[in-house]
């Protein structure tokens, strides 16, 4: 079976100039790798923040003597708040048992108690997108409105600091990510331009013998797309190798690293293809306008 002419021409270029082809695939690969590596760091940082945010919890202390039925009904009301994931009632006895098991250094003090000093409480966990200071504050205010609630705490300072960290990470991530993407696009554009210039004679001959711009452009676009795909796969492979190297050591420090899922990897390769295609389109288009 004979391949279509543009594909045949594109593959012929790979055969004819293997070194330049390998270098341009490597250049695209390394450029995408810098973006991929940054995205991997950002992904893991976001994951860590998410893990931290899971600790955002509102504790509402119940007045002593409040009937259990009242608390149960109120729990159901609180559970219905749009921000709330779950509400857990901790009785006075459970609070004491937990204190005994968790605060071992005060074990003797708790054993000698004649009366339980710890109040019952409602532990309220928020849905992931509401784990910020503003939402926690809003829920706390509403819970405080129940007459049997003595006090509500949620570690305002800590949650506010987490908010600031999240905002800062978002801005820094966007700026650095954009800078990496621009640098990668420029490097890839220059690489593709070199391959176009290297074939300037061929292009001028094609034009002289009556080739249409479309005929000239097609193999370059295919070549750019193929290089983009290969560069994208190379970048994904390098990111995975880095991930494998650091996964083990990171597991000891934090909860372990996460890697891109299939959609993110596919998006990365697609991004490489798009850049290869766009770079070729611009380079060859510019060249055709000037010869």
């Amino acid at each position: 079976m004979r391949l279509p002419a543009p594909l045949r021409e594109a593959l012929r270029t790979f055969r004819r100039t293997p070194l330049l082809s390998v270098l341009s695939v490597a250049s695209i690969g390394f450029s995408l790798f810098t973006i991929g590596l940054f995205a991997l760091v950002a992904l893991n940082f976001r994951q860590s923040l998410r893990t931290l945010a899971e600790r955002v919890e509102i504790v509402a202390f119940v007045l002593r003597g409040t009937p259990t039925e009242t608390v149960t009904v109120a729990s159901q009301d609180i559970q219905a708040f749009p921000e709330v994931l779950e509400v857990n009632f901790v009785s006075e006895e459970q609070a004491l048992a937990r204190a005994r098991s968790e605060l071992v250094e005060f074990k003797d003090a708790y054993r000698d108690l004649e009366a339980n000093p710890l109040p019952a409480s409602l532990e309220i966990r928020l849905k992931p997108k509401f784990r910020d200071a503003k939402s926690a504050q809003a829920v706390a205010e509403r819970v405080r409105g129940f007459p049997f609630i003595d006090d509500v705490r949620f570690g305002r300072d800590w949650v506010q600091r987490l908010d600031r960290l999240r905002n800062l990470a978002g801005i820094v991530g966007a700026v650095i990510g954009l800078a990496f993407a621009i640098v990668a696009i420029v490097i890839i554009g220059v690489t593709i331009r070199i391959t176009v210039l290297q074939r300037a004679t061929e292009i001028s001959i094609m034009r002289l013998v009556g080739a249409t711009n479309r005929y000239i452009r097609e193999p370059f676009l295919l070549e750019g797309a193929i290089k983009g795909v290969l560069g994208g796969l190379l970048a994904a492979l390098m990111c995975w190798l880095i991930f494998v190297v650091f996964r083990k050591s990171a597991a000891e420090i934090s909860g372990g690293l996460v890697f891109f899922g299939t959609p993110e990897l596919a998006a990365g390769v697609l991004f490489g293809t798009a850049i290869g295609l766009l770079g070729s389109l611009l380079s060859v288009g510019r060249h055709l306008r000037h010869v």
Binding site: R207, L208, V209, G210, N213
Partner: protein
């Protein structure tokens, strides 16, 4: 086939290459353009090939108005022209037959018909036995023959040769010139720019001499005046 009417060409850098040039080349003619470097020969060929547009005046090639050609029309005009240059401009990584076949491929010719047409034209230029070799393995004269075969394979009504013998020895020059005469004998217009006055002097063909961007001598007009 080719008509220039009051054509001037000034390049963006301000250099005026042609000033009020007018001539007409009829079907079947063989015409030499002579003159020193910078006289305007290359500018005339560039205008015929639609590589440049005239700054003033009208250029018509095989019916195409060069000044008003759209990007889509340029390839259509070029398919009516066969072109060879002093430096051959062959693709080094393609064999002789691939170089010639390439000119057919880019015009979208039917693939099955390409090998037959390539061999026919290589036979015409005397290189059928070297179809599978690469340009680097050929002499200068042979490389120019390949370039001529490439220019002829689409059966163009006009053949443009820009200093085709500039890089060749005397024997090869004679061979190439004979080939161009054969092409002209088939009814194709041949337009050749050359420095080689000895070659021009010994032929009966029309000569247009350029100097400072103007035609200073046209052998056809001289003959008409003499008559």
């Amino acid at each position: 086939m080719i008509r220039f009417q009051h054509v001037s060409k000034t390049y963006p850098n301000g250099v005026t290459a042609l000033r009020d040039v007018s001539f007409h080349i009829a079907k079947g003619e063989f015409v030499f353009f002579t003159g020193h470097s910078g006289a305007g020969k290359s500018s005339i060929l560039s205008l015929i090939l639609a590589e440049q547009r005239p700054s003033a005046g009208d250029v018509r090639v095989s019916g195409f108005p060069v000044a008003r050609l759209t990007a889509n029309q340029v390839p259509k005009l070029r398919r009516k022209l066969g072109v060879v240059f002093q430096d051959f401009r062959l693709l080094e990584y393609r064999t002789v037959e691939e170089n010639v076949g390439f000119a057919l491929e880019v015009t979208g010719a039917r693939r099955e018909g390409i090998p037959g047409r390539v061999i026919r034209v290589l036979t015409q230029v005397g290189l059928a036995s070297k179809a599978r070799v690469y340009p680097k393995e050929l002499s200068g004269g042979e490389q120019q023959r390949v370039a001529i075969a490439r220019a002829l394979v689409n059966d163009p009504p006009i053949f443009i040769a820009d200093e085709p013998t500039g890089n060749l020895d005397e024997r090869a020059t004679r061979g190439i010139f004979q080939l161009l005469q054969q092409i002209n004998g088939g009814g194709t217009v041949v337009v050749m720019a050359t420095h080689n006055l000895a070659l021009v002097r010994d032929t009966p063909y029309r000569v247009l001499e350029l100097k400072g961007g103007q035609i200073v001598y046209d052998s056809a007009q001289e003959a008409a005046t003499a008559r």
